[in-house]
């Protein structure tokens, strides 16, 4: 694999890592608006 191939592979790894990081952080942060159960 040439230099270009390694560069593309490195870019893919960085992109996937950032995506996982963003998703995990968003899940950890929460941010829901939860209605209580109805008493009726």
């Amino acid at each position: 694999m040439g230099l270009i191939g390694w560069l593309i592979l490195a870019l893919i790894v960085v992109a996937v890592t950032m995506l996982v990081f963003v998703v995990v952080r968003r899940r950890r942060r929460g941010g829901s608006i939860i209605a209580t159960r109805s008493r009726r």
Binding site: R25, R28, R29, G30, G31, S32, I33, I34, A35, T36, R37, S38, R39, R40
Partner: protein
């Protein structure tokens, strides 16, 4: 003057003690009672960039004030374990997250989807309405208590609600009182 604030503005706010001025947690989820139109509490995250869920929760009774920049509590004892908190706060019904719910009138007209919750800033914890994304694009506001029923999928409102869809928060403030009079609630 009534200052209105949305739940998305409360998410991530620091929880600060009045007595010590310490920043002890941040707001994660907002939990409200749609029938009473009141905030019942919030779940918390620990402080820090990648910190996760805080073990303790904050019931509405323990909130000193909700401000634009922080949620104030008296001291660290205001945070309670889920076992000691009211059940709705300690073990929230996560399947009843209203974000993205379809807003339907009882006549079957879609007013949009729920985008946010509007609250009164201060110590009252009063919930006054919903922000919605309209079907044709753009956002609007509807007053609460508007819902006849609510689930994690849809929010059914009386037909009259269609007349009270407002374009901005200022309009909502004025519409809430009139809406309640028309609904026979005041």
């Amino acid at each position: 003057m009534r200052l209105l604030m949305t739940a998305s503005q409360i998410h991530g706010l620091p929880v600060v003690t009045v007595r010590g001025g310490e920043d002890i947690a941040e707001v994660r989820d907002v939990i409200y009672n749609p029938e009473a139109g009141r905030l019942v509490g919030v779940t918390l995250n620990k402080r820090g960039f990648l910190a996760g869920r805080h073990r303790e929760v904050l019931p509405a009774e323990a909130i000193h004030a909700v401000g634009q920049d922080a949620v104030m509590v008296l001291d660290e004892t205001s945070l309670v374990t889920p076992q000691d908190a009211p059940a709705d706060v300690g073990h929230p019904a996560t399947e009843r997250n209203v974000l993205g719910d379809d807003v339907l009138t009882e006549g079957g007209t879609s007013l949009g989807t729920v985008a946010d919750l509007v609250l009164l800033v201060g110590s009252s914890g009063e919930v006054v309405g919903y922000q919605i994304d309209k079907p044709g694009g753009g956002s609007g506001y509807i007053p609460l208590p508007a819902q006849l029923s609510i689930s994690g999928v849809a929010l059914v409102v009386p037909n009259i609600t269609e007349e009270f869809v407002q374009d901005d928060l200022v309009g909502l403030g004025a519409a809430v009182d009139e809406f309640r009079v028309r609904m026979g609630l005041t």
